[in-house]
C-alpha cells in the first residue's frame, strides 16, 4: 500500500495488509497523524490533540481487526487518557478515571484515540457553533458549518484526518453532520451500542453512532462495538449479527418507501438529487413506492419537549460540587449551584434546560411532556405500520446542504428544523444511516437517509454499500484537503 492511496483504502484492506506484514501498524498510524498535523488548524475538528501522546498510544496498540486505526472520539464520550469537556466550560479540567465501554472495545480491537472531537456543548445543537472551544469548519467550504452536534467527528473523517470517528445521536447529531460533510453516519438501534461512558443528554433518545467514509467501514467497526454491556441496563441482549457479511447482500426485490411528506418543502436541487438516488436503487432491482407519514412534521415539536425535559434532569448533576467548574463568588450552597451553572453553561444549554424545566413543572407537565409523549407513541405506531409495508424508508438526510457559519445562530428554531428528517429515528428507536448522494452546483455534499426496523443495521448498511459502490461519491476528497 503506497502513501498516496492509504486514505482511500478500506479498513478491511488495511487490516489484511497489516496482518500480512505488507503494512506496518506504526507507519499507517503515522500517516494519519501527519494529516492531522498538516490540516487540523484550518478545520478545528479536534478539541484535544497531543501528537506525541497519540504516537505513543499508536505504538502501544494490540493486534486486532482495527490494529493501528486512529479514531476521533466525540468529546462527550469519556476516555481515560484525555480530558473530556463536552464542549462546555462547566466540565472544567475533568479527567475520567475510566474509558467508556465503547472506547475500551475499540482499544481491545487494536485502535487508538487520535483526538477528542469538537461538538455543540453537551451535544445540543446542529452546527457545532455552540462549543465553548469555537466552531468547526466544513471541509467542503470553510465558511460553512460542519453540522452538529458531532461536527468535529464528521469534519475530521471528511477531510481525511482520521479514517473513522465516534459521535452521539439524540435527534440526528451523527447523521446531520455526516450529511453536511459528505460522509457516512450511522445511528444504530436504541440499545445496540453500550452508552456507559457517554455523558447523558436525553436518556430515552441517546445512542452512540459511527462516522466513516463508507458503509463497509461502518460495518467493520459496528461489528466490534455492538452488543450488550452489563454496565448499561438499556443495552440490548439481541445477538450481534455479522454486519461485514451483510454489506454484500443483494438489494434486488427490497421494497423502499419514500416518505411523501419529506418531499414537500425541498428545493429543486435537493429533490432532483434525491430522485437520482431513487433511480440508482431502482436500477439495482429495488422497488420504490411513496408512503405517507404525516406525523413526520411533528418530530421537532415532540423532540424539543422530550429531549429537553430529560436534559433538564440529566444535567442537574453539574452543580459545581463533585467535579468540574465551580463559581468562586458564592457564599451559600444555593448560590454556589446557581452561579456555577449560570456561569458554566453556555446560552443554548441554558435555553434547553429552561425549556425542559418548564415542560416538567407543576401545572404544565401534562400539557407539554404528557402530550409530547402521547404524540410520540402515535409516531411509533405510524412508523411501525409503514415499516410493515416496506423494508426501508427513505428521505433526504437534511432539507438542505451546509449553511453559513452564523446564519442560524440567532434563530434557535430555524437551527432546530435542520433535524426534521432525522429526529423520528431517535424518537422511536430505529436505526438509520446517512449516505452521501452527490453535490449541489456549489460543490456542497447532499445525503440520502435510509431508515429500517429495529436491529436492521445489516440491511441498511448493505443498501448504503451497494449505493456507494454504484455512485463513487465516497472517493471524492474535499479540494482543500487533497
Amino acid at each position: 500500500m503506497s502513501t498516496d492511496d492509504f486514505f482511500g483504502s478500506s479498513l478491511s484492506e488495511v487490516s489484511a495488509a497489516i496482518g500480512a506484514g505488507s503494512l506496518e501498524r506504526a507507519r499507517y498510524a503515522e500517516l494519519w497523524l501527519g494529516r492531522i498535523r498538516e490540516h487540523e488548524s484550518r478545520l478545528h475538528s479536534l478539541i484535544h490533540f497531543d501528537e506525541g501522546k497519540a504516537r505513543a498510544r499508536a505504538s502501544a496498540t494490540t493486534s486486532g481487526s482495527l490494529a493501528g486505526v486512529p479514531f476521533a472520539i466525540k468529546d462527550n464520550i469519556v476516555t481515560r487518557d484525555e480530558p473530556t469537556t463536552c464542549g462546555s466550560r462547566i466540565l472544567g479540567a475533568f479527567q475520567s478515571p475510566v474509558d467508556s465501554t465503547v472506547v475500551g472495545k475499540l482499544k481491545g480491537a487494536g485502535a487508538f484515540v487520535a483526538g477528542k472531537a469538537n461538538l455543540d456543548e453537551f451535544a445540543m445543537g446542529s452546527s457545532t457553533e455552540h462549543s465553548v472551544f469555537g466552531v468547526t469548519r466544513n471541509p467542503w467550504d470553510l465558511q460553512r458549518v460542519a453540522g452538529g452536534s458531532s461536527g468535529g467527528s464528521a469534519a475530521a473523517v471528511a477531510a481525511r484526518l482520521v479514517p473513522a470517528a465516534l459521535g452521539s445521536e439524540t435527534g440526528g447529531s451523527v447523521r446531520q453532520p455526516a450529511a453536511l460533510c459528505g460522509v457516512v453516519g450511522l445511528k444504530p438501534t436504541y440499545g445496540r451500542i453500550s452508552r456507559s461512558g457517554l455523558v447523558a443528554f436525553a436518556s430515552s433518545l441517546d445512542q452512540i453512532g459511527i462516522v466513516t467514509r463508507t458503509a463497509a467501514d461502518c460495518a467493520w467497526i459496528l461489528r466490534e462495538i455492538a452488543g450488550h454491556d452489563p454496565a448499561d441496563s438499556t443495552s440490548s441482549r439481541e445477538p450481534v449479527p455479522d454486519y461485514v457479511a451483510a454489506i454484500d447482500n443483494d438489494i434486488s426485490g427490497l421494497r423502499f418507501g419514500v416518505v411523501r411528506e419529506a418531499l414537500a418543502s425541498l428545493s429543486t436541487e435537493v429533490r432532483d438529487n434525491f430522485n437520482d438516488a431513487l433511480t440508482v436503487l431502482r436500477s439495482e432491482g429495488a422497488v420504490v413506492e411513496e408512503i405517507s407519514l404525516p406525523i413526520l412534521s411533528s418530530a421537532i415539536a415532540i423532540y424539543y419537549v422530550v429531549a429537553n425535559a430529560e436534559a433538564s434532569a440529566n444535567l442537574s448533576r453539574f452543580d459545581g460540587v463533585r467535579y468540574g467548574f465551580r463559581s468562586a463568588d458564592s457564599s451559600d450552597l444555593q448560590q454556589l449551584y446557581r452561579n456555577s451553572r449560570g456561569q458554566g453553561f453556555g446560552p443554548e444549554v441554558k435555553r434547553r434546560i429552561m425549556l425542559g424545566t418548564f415542560a416538567l413543572s407543576s401545572g404544565y407537565y401534562d400539557a407539554y411532556y404528557g402530550r409530547a409523549q402521547r404524540v410520540r407513541q402515535r409516531m411509533r405506531t405510524d412508523f411501525a405500520s409503514a415499516l410493515s409495508q416496506v423494508d426501508c424508508l427513505l428521505t433526504p438526510t437534511t432539507p438542505g446542504p451546509a449553511f453559513l457559519i452564523g446564519e442560524k445562530t440567532s434563530d434557535p428554531l430555524a437551527m432546530y428544523l435542520s433535524d426534521i428528517f432525522t429526529a423520528p429515528a431517535n424518537l422511536i428507536g430505529i436505526p438509520a444511516v446517512a449516505v452521501p448522494s452527490g453535490f449541489t452546483d456549489n460543490g456542497l455534499p447532499l445525503s440520502l437517509q435510509i431508515m429500517g426496523p429495529h436491529f436492521s443495521e445489516g440491511r441498511l448498511l448493505g443498501v448504503a454499500n451497494r449505493y456507494q459502490t454504484r455512485t463513487g461519491f465516497a472517493q471524492v476528497v474535499p479540494p482543500e484537503f487533497r
Binding site: 421537532i300 419537549v305 463533585r322 401545572g363 407513541q377 402515535r378
Partner: protein
C-alpha cells in the same frame, strides 16, 4: 441538589381540552423565566432573562402544533422502552479509586466534598 420549594401555579391543569388550550396560549414573560430559572438552579443576568423570554415563547409557539394532532381515543399510552431494562448480576465489584474521583472535585478534604456552610452560618 436539594429539593426545590419554589411554588408552581395553583390551578393544576388536568382536563385534556384545557391542556390543549394551554399549549396554544402559552407566552413566557420575564417573571415566568425567573420562576423557571429558580427551579433549574441557574443564575441569569437581566439581559439573559429578557432574551430568554422571547426565545422560549417562540419555541413554545412552535411546539403548540402538538395540540392539533388528532389522537384517536383512547389516546395512546406511551411505551417507554423496547424491552425492560436488563439488570446485571448483583455482585460486588471494585469501586473507582477515591483519589481518581476526588481529583476532579473543585474542593475535597479528608474524604469529603467541601461546600459553603449550610447550617448555622455566622
Amino acid at each position: 441538589m436539594l429539593p426545590c420549594d419554589v411554588p408552581g401555579p395553583d390551578d393544576r391543569v388536568t382536563d385534556g381540552e384545557r391542556e390543549r388550550e394551554l399549549l396554544k396560549l402559552m407566552k413566557i414573560d420575564s417573571d415566568e423565566v425567573t420562576r423557571i430559572a429558580a427551579l433549574a438552579h441557574i443564575e441569569l443576568s437581566p439581559a439573559e432573562i429578557t432574551s430568554m423570554a422571547g426565545e422560549l415563547s417562540s419555541i413554545l409557539e412552535y411546539i403548540a402544533q402538538l395540540e392539533a394532532i388528532e389522537l384517536a381515543p383512547p389516546e395512546p399510552e406511551p411505551e417507554m422502552a423496547l424491552s425492560l431494562p436488563v439488570l446485571r448480576e448483583d455482585e460486588v465489584t471494585p469501586s473507582l479509586p477515591t483519589a481518581a474521583v476526588a481529583g476532579n472535585a473543585p474542593s475535597f478534604s479528608n474524604g469529603f466534598f467541601v461546600v459553603p456552610r449550610i447550617i448555622g452560618g455566622e
